[in-house]
């Protein structure tokens, strides 16, 4: 019974199919088991097969030349090659047929080495029979192949970087250095983010402001970077290569020439977030003395709207937001982190004034001048305690869940080294200060970090170790005690002794929390992990990319990192943007879903089945006076998984080059009895 089982609804080829079928001996690897000549002979009798050949090795230059010649001279327009596994030489042969002028997707590779001759060497008859069926399946599929082109999306050579902390700055600079324009959007009026709030940077003991200013200078001096401060993304649509973005920018509120005058005249104050609420600042402000831009800005959120009295006249401050519309090919998220804010009463925080966070301690230190003693809340600090893992490494069932019902089970990675670095710095500046360090595990993992730990030990920082389920307690000391606070801990370094440590100050090494960016995350349709940080597509395969194509991650928006790690992540994200946009267009493989609009009746089953956001939508068309709803695929968002194919009642949607009809044809060929093959019913 000859092969005549092709499904009728395959895409019809515009020209008669002329097949060339090539069975490779692979230098005996296939030929010693499979009788390649017999395979060729049987396949050669099949309809549409113009030529069926064998060769010791089709992957050799000579072998490829035979195929190219057949395409040119015999008008072969579909090529089937039976050889090694496709992962080895499929691309080789695609290139070969392309050289001969054939569309590379009119080629079908059949693996008969790894999946036939090598596994059935004890059954050469069976192996030959299998080769015939596999080749017949290849032929059946090849008949239904259609020429395909890679999907090319024009890509705007501009990247949007959201967040101008150290990661955003770095990412913007590195993208711009690849010849791609960048719009850098920052919510606050000043650049630099959290790094500006640090005292000194481990492990090099550098001045963070110097690091930051070098970077800010490079960014602002770069001709391809546009910086928008006091700005937020307020609208977003589109996909990789063509995101349409609305950015809303608030007014700075003051002009360069009148700024100082207005700043002086401003009397309204608000807690200064730069000092983590320890101090007050005016609502017209600079985040810190050398902040960039140097012009002060109005804090619209806290400004009470009342006019300022300047030299006898009344000046009204007005926010006139401007909306920019821009197109970006890719988006980098560098939205950063917030330090964990302990709950009221957690380790006495908020109840006992001598309990502060580590970031607050760093700000306190920054304001103590050289030679001055360390004081807090009116009294000198002679003994202090550092408590690690506050808001990190929390255990379900032991720690109280946060507002969203979660505990922060993750490690914040930087706090151990940051705490010890602070301890060492404190011991250097205030040699008489006693420091107690309460930890569960010291995680000084980074290059040069273990040295800081050693330094802390040798400079007589006293370590106490607690178990994660028996955290220390902080209580106010009875009135009249020498020190106002007592830290109570069950210390495993002294074999479980209960120790009361009287101190003047407690600093909580708080972990990192993801920034609140719900609006942005929803707009971008990006996912977050169980830790609520932004989730990468895959930690190893695509560590700085998000599942949504064209969106990359830079820095602590993704999870806790130190400066060096943030910079690396930002640069890596920039490299991904450069790969994506460098050519001015994005090229994607053509293996995406494709709708046959003649068959589609708009049931929408495919839209429901689709797991990719925005890959299939139902759109309304006007035709012959009536309205029609049809599925439309956005190839940029389609991964070609085929979830839509199986659910369509009309078989109106297919993944290109992997169509259902092709599979049916292949299955028929495998299931069929083929004349000339042993075991077939003749």
């Amino acid at each position: 019974m000859p092969e005549r089982t092709i499904a009728g609804d395959g895409a019809a080829a515009p020209e008669p199919v002329r097949l060339g079928v090539y069975t490779c001996h692979c230098g005996g690897n296939i030929g010693h088991v499979v009788q390649c000549e017999r395979v060729a002979e049987i396949i050669g009798r099949m309809p549409d097969v113009v030529v069926a050949r064998t060769d010791p090795s089709f992957c050799s230059d000579a072998g490829q030349a035979i195929i190219e010649q057949d395409i040119k001279e015999l008008g072969i327009n579909r090529v089937v090659i039976g050889a090694c596994t496709p992962s080895l030489h499929e691309q080789t042969f695609r290139n070969a047929v392309t050289r001969a002028g054939l569309n590379p997707y009119l080629y079908q590779h059949v693996g008969i080495r790894e999946q036939d001759s090598w596994v059935h060497s004890k059954d050469p008859e069976g192996a030959t029979e299998k080769a015939v069926h596999l080749m017949a399946a290849g032929v059946a599929k090849a008949r239904l192949l259609t020429p395909l082109e890679p999907i090319r999306l024009s890509a705007e050579k501009r990247a949007l970087v959201i967040g101008a902390g150290i990661a955003g700055l770095r990412c913007a600079l590195d993208v711009a250095r690849q010849g791609i324009r960048v719009t850098l959007v920052e919510k606050s009026p000043f650049l630099g983010g959290r790094v500006a709030q640090l005292g000194s940077v481990f492990p090099t003991d550098e001045d963070p402001l110097r690091l930051l200013h070098e970077l800010i200078h490079a960014v602002t001096a770069h001709p391809s970077i546009t910086v928008l401060t006091q700005s937020e993304v307020t609208g977003l649509s589109g996909y990789v290569g063509n995101f349409n973005v609305h950015v809303t920018q608030h007014s700075r509120g003051v002009e360069k020439d009148t700024a100082e005058e207005l700043l002086a005249a401003c009397t309204q104050t608000t807690p200064d977030e730069f000092d983590y609420g320890l101090t007050q600042r005016k609502v017209i402000y600079r985040s810190y003395p050398d902040s960039y831009p140097a012009i002060p800005a109005v804090d619209w959120e806290h400004h009470d709207g009342r006019p300022l009295q300047v030299g006898g006249r009344s000046v009204e401050l007005r926010d006139e937001p401007r909306i920019y519309e821009l197109t970006a090919g890719a988006i980098a998220l560098a939205t950063g982190f917030d330090p964990y804010e302990p709950r009221h009463g957690e380790y006495g925080y908020g109840e006992i004034p001598e309990v502060v966070t580590l970031p607050q301690l760093i700000r306190i230190l920054a304001r103590v001048r050289e030679g001055e003693p360390l004081t807090w809340n009116g009294h000198p600090i002679r003994a202090m305690a550092l408590i690690h893992c506050v808001g990190s490494r929390e255990l379900d069932g032991v720690q109280k869940p946060h507002a969203d019902g979660q505990v922060n089970s993750y490690c914040s990675r930087v706090c151990c080294t940051a705490s010890l670095h602070a301890a060492v710095t404190l011991r250097q500046r205030f040699p008489d200060l006693d420091i107690y360090d309460l930890y569960q595990d010291i995680r000084t993992y980074g290059r040069g970090h273990e040295e800081i730990y050693r330094h802390a030990r040798t400079s007589m920082v006293r370590f106490l170790r607690y178990h994660g389920d028996q955290r220390p307690e902080v209580v106010a000391a009875p009135a009249g005690d020498l020190h106002p606070v007592v830290v109570r801990v069950k210390d495993s370094l002294t074999y479980g002794e209960e120790i009361d440590v009287p101190v003047d100050l407690v600093a909580l090494a708080v972990g990192m929390m993801p920034r609140q960016i719900d609006d942005l995350a929803n707009m971008l349709k990006v996912s977050r992990g169980a830790d609520r940080f932004l989730l990468e597509a895959h930690p190893k395969l695509r560590p700085v990319e998000m599942a949504v194509r064209g969106i990359v991650l830079a820095g602590t928006a993704q999870g806790p990192m130190n400066i060096q790690e943030s910079l690396s992540a930002a640069s890596a994200a920039a490299a991904k943007v450069a790969v994506l946009l460098g050519q001015g267009q994005v090229e994607l493989p053509p293996f995406v879903a494709c709708v046959n609009t003649a068959k589609c009746d708009g049931t929408g089953a495919c839209v429901q089945a689709c797991r990719e956001k925005g890959a299939i939508t139902l759109q309304t068309f006007n035709e012959d006076g009536g309205e029609l709803r049809r599925a439309v695929v956005t190839p940029a968002n389609c991964t070609g998984c085929g979830a839509c194919v199986g659910v369509c009642p009309n078989r109106a949607i297919d993944v290109q080059a992997w169509t259902l009809a092709q599979y049916e044809a292949m299955v028929d060929a495998i299931g069929a009895d083929i004349p000339g093959v042993a075991g077939a019913d003749e």
Partner: protein, 143 residues
């Protein structure tokens, strides 16, 4: 199975994800492992693309056993693990309706270096089919 009298064997179709089972079958080849020759592996992007009718059709066109090798849930290429499992369940119901032994269809998680699990699946199915025989006989059997 090197019998000289080559009688017709039941045919096993393996639908294997390109990134998982197909690569696993390649690994079996690279290890020069040995399994029954009546096994035909076709690469798929993700088996979720097939409607249950596809399997039914295959059983009526000369395929006697089908193993769907998807990448499972622990694979980085996990596209539609849940969807595939649900699809197989739906197919089982359809097979029952048509009185086809549901053991003829199996779902297995196979990755790139799963040589042993691959061989196990294939050999088990081959053994099973020895007992079950051809689908066409099962379909022809009186109710």
């Amino acid at each position: 199975m090197a019998e000289n009298d080559r009688t017709k064997q039941p045919k096993i179709l393996v639908l294997a994800t390109l990134a998982g089972g197909y690569a696993g079958a390649d690994s079996a080849g690279q290890a020069h492992a040995d399994y029954p020759a009546n096994t035909y592996v076709l690469p798929v992007m993700c088996p979720v693309m097939f409607p249950p009718q596809f399997f039914l059709r295959a059983f009526t066109r000369g395929i006697d056993g089908i193993i769907v090798m998807y990448s499972g849930t622990d694979s980085p290429y996990n596209v539609e693990a849940d969807g595939t499992a649900a699809l197989i369940d739906r197919t089982y119901s359809l097979m029952k309706e048509h009185r086809i032994d549901t053991r003829r269809l199996r779902l297995a998680a196979i990755c790139t270096v799963c040589v042993k699990p691959f061989l196990k699946e294939v050999t088990q199915m081959a053994e099973l089919l020895k007992g079950l025989g051809f689908v066409k006989d099962e379909l022809a059997a009186p109710a």
